[in-house]
């Protein structure tokens, strides 16, 4: 390889590596939403794809379930803010492959699963969601 070819190839190589790491880097929950809470271009482009999203596991609604809610920040429960605390608008419902092994609400996690968009109500819990990761796995970030 002559020196000029090698130098020309180097940036392309770096670009490819950079693109690869961008693919594997977890999205933030806020990347899925626009400010008006409509779905972002990233969310629309990722629909049906297997993607990773960073966030926090809210305390599960039901024991021994495959379902949990991913929040962008730890789900602090303020006694003065909200009797009967409602969920924030920008959350994500997760349907895991296996029964959920609970991770404390303030430990950062990464969830990987297939992105589903659109309104849905969980038949068992009655939980309404706009966006979900299904067939998901998760781990501490």
């Amino acid at each position: 390889m002559i020196r000029r070819t090698f130098l020309a190839a180097l940036p392309a190589c770096l670009l490819a590596r950079s693109a690869q790491s961008a693919e594997t880097a977890a999205l933030k929950l806020r990347d899925l939403y626009n400010k008006d809470l409509s779905f972002s271009d990233v969310a629309l482009a990722s629909q049906g794809n297997r993607i990773s999203i960073a966030g926090f596991m809210a305390p599960p609604l039901k024991a021994n379930s495959v379902f949990f809610v991913l929040t962008k920040m730890p789900m602090a429960v303020c006694p003065f803010c909200e009797p009967g605390m409602p969920w924030p608008d920008d959350i994500l419902a997760v349907y895991a492959k296996r029964v959920v092994d609970v991770i404390p609400f303030n430990v950062p996690i990464t969830v990987t699963g297939v992105l589903e968009l659109g309104d849905a109500v969980d038949p068992e819990l009655g939980f309404y969601s706009k966006v979900r990761l299904v067939d998901a796995t998760y781990s501490r970030a």
Binding site: M73, A76, V77, C78, P83, P86
Partner: protein, 497 residues
């Protein structure tokens, strides 16, 4: 004799200026700026006019520490180092420290603190405008122990009354303007015990609007005005189980009800019809996330303009309610953005009113468990890492200061909360170490500052808050005062002969 004394004081002042000019530091900008401050202070005269209007600004949870953080944030947002920034209300001539404890709480919640400011007495945590001889939640005793509010007093004088909050309009701070409740959580009928004669807080607001006490009420909390089975403009269901639709009742009583930024902007206010703005099912959005809702400054401007139509004047209570909520979450970024929005609303009120006839009071109801690290160089971002001082210059070196564990740390943190470095383990014990942290991670809007004690929600603290004031009888604020003195200053200012 008085003239002689005044001349003596003037002479002393001139002597001190002459002496100061001879000092080697006399040309330092620090020195000359401080001299200018002294000149301003010497020129301050007590304003003993009767107050036509009173505006009480409360940023919930914005104690001296939180206010310090907001000052730095606003200053850095403006391109400066932050610490030398002056918030609009920090130019007010009169300031005091305020003791916020309640009748039974070393650490208060927002119910008794708002009651203190609106009625002149302290009461128990969890109760709004009810004597502290009553037990929390005791409907029967509460029925005969309610106290009269400042809104009712000035309404009797012919003044108009407005109440604004970015929290639910039925939340403790705004509720204390118009309601009496032995339990702050009874925002709709669902929490009322069977047989309780007290009305819920949303119901009381509608009553006070019908009675002509409350003219304008803007905030969140639609869910408490709508019955189960009825959804609001955003598809969220009401909570009331008594089948009453208070939005319909307000409309039937001649009120205008609006639900978003657009219908609010289109609304003609000031035509003597009451206005109810309910911009969210629960709390209004954080300023950082705000879309489709009016800002606190916009609500303030529209309300002052509308209430100014009353020649007898007005009382307006304005709360930045979500400074508190973001502190509870341990998320300093949203605390500061809402704090800046609070300051913007105050600037708007200053612009629209005259200090000759309008008493503006800026305070907080309580502080939080927020705390600050050292020794940070100037310009360290208030949400970011504590950077080393620069001995060769002014701004920090760009190198993070390191703790004994070899890791950087943020300028601000919390003593407790969801950001705790102690995390629950599989055996239910708590353990952990401080995560490594970059500047980029720390200044992320969703970052939670590190905390010590693990709690699901960061707590209030009993630390003092400040009160800043301008206008008639603002000079009654000084020293260290009990929180309920704020009512007495307002009451004196509107009734002075």
């Amino acid at each position: 004799m008085k003239n002689v004394l005044l001349s003596g004081a003037a002479l002393l002042s001139m002597t001190s200026v002459l002496a100061a000019q001879d000092l080697p530091q006399a040309t330092s900008p620090w020195f000359t700026a401080a001299q200018a401050t002294i000149a301003e202070r010497l020129a301050v005269q007590p304003n003993t006019n009767r107050a036509k209007n009173v505006i009480l600004f409360t940023a919930d949870g914005n104690g001296v520490g939180t206010n310090y953080a907001i000052r730095l944030f606003s200053g850095q947002l403006a391109g400066g180092l932050g610490d030398d920034y002056v918030q609009p209300f920090e130019t007010f001539p009169n300031v005091a420290l305020v003791k916020t404890y309640s009748s039974n709480g070393q650490t208060p919640d927002s119910a008794p603190t708002a009651a203190a400011m609106n009625t002149g007495i302290k009461t128990k945590n969890g109760m709004i405008n009810v004597l502290d001889t009553v037990n929390v939640g005791d409907c029967a005793a509460g029925a005969t122990a309610g106290v009269k509010t400042f809104a009712e007093i000035v309404s009797d004088m012919g003044k108009s009354v407005g109440v604004i909050s970015t929290a639910r309009i039925t939340h403790a701070t705004p509720a204390a303007v118009y309601a009496r409740s032995v339990n702050r959580d009874w925002e709709d009928n669902t929490g009322l015990p069977e047989g309780c004669t007290q009305k819920d807080i949303a119901d009381q607001l509608i009553d006070q609007m019908k009675a002509g006490v409350i003219d304008i009420a803007l905030g969140g909390g639609r869910q408490h005005f709508l019955p189960v089975g009825v959804t609001d403009v955003e598809g969220k269901e009401g909570k009331r189980t008594d089948s009453r639709n208070l939005v319909d009742e307000a409309t039937a009583a001649g009120g205008s009800v609006v639900f978003g930024a657009d219908d609010f902007a289109a609304l003609t206010m000031g035509n003597n019809a009451p206005v109810l703005g309910l911009f969210e099912a629960s709390h209004m959005q954080y300023e950082h996330d705000r879309a489709g809702e009016p800002s606190l400054a916009e609500m303030t401007e529209a309300t002052i303009k509308a209430l100014s139509g009353n020649e007898n004047g007005f009382y307006l209570s304005i709360e930045a309610g979500r400074v508190d909520h973001a502190n509870h979450a341990g998320n300093l970024h949203r605390v500061l953005v809402d704090g800046k929005a609070f300051a913007d609303a105050i600037a708007k009120a200053m612009e629209l009113t005259n200090a000759e006839d309008t008493l503006i009071i800026v305070t907080a109801d309580h502080e939080h468990a927020i705390s600050f690290n050292g020794y940070c160089g100037r310009g360290s971002k208030i949400t970011g890492l504590c950077m080393l001082e620069n001995e060769q210059g002014v701004e920090h070196t760009g190198e993070p200061a390191l703790a004994a564990d070899g890791k950087p740390y943020t300028v601000a943190g919390y003593l407790n909360g969801a950001g705790s470095v102690l995390v629950e383990q599989a055996d239910k014990t708590f353990a952990g170490s401080r995560p490594d942290l970059t500047e980029e991670q720390a200044i992320d809007p969703d970052y939670l500052q590190q905390a010590l004690i693990p709690m699901s929600s960061e707590t209030h603290s009993g630390e003092d808050v400040a009160v800043f004031a301008r206008g008639p009888f603002a000079h009654l604020f000084g020293g260290v005062i009990e929180q309920n003195v704020i009512f007495h200053v307002m009451n004196h200012a509107v009734s002075a002969q």
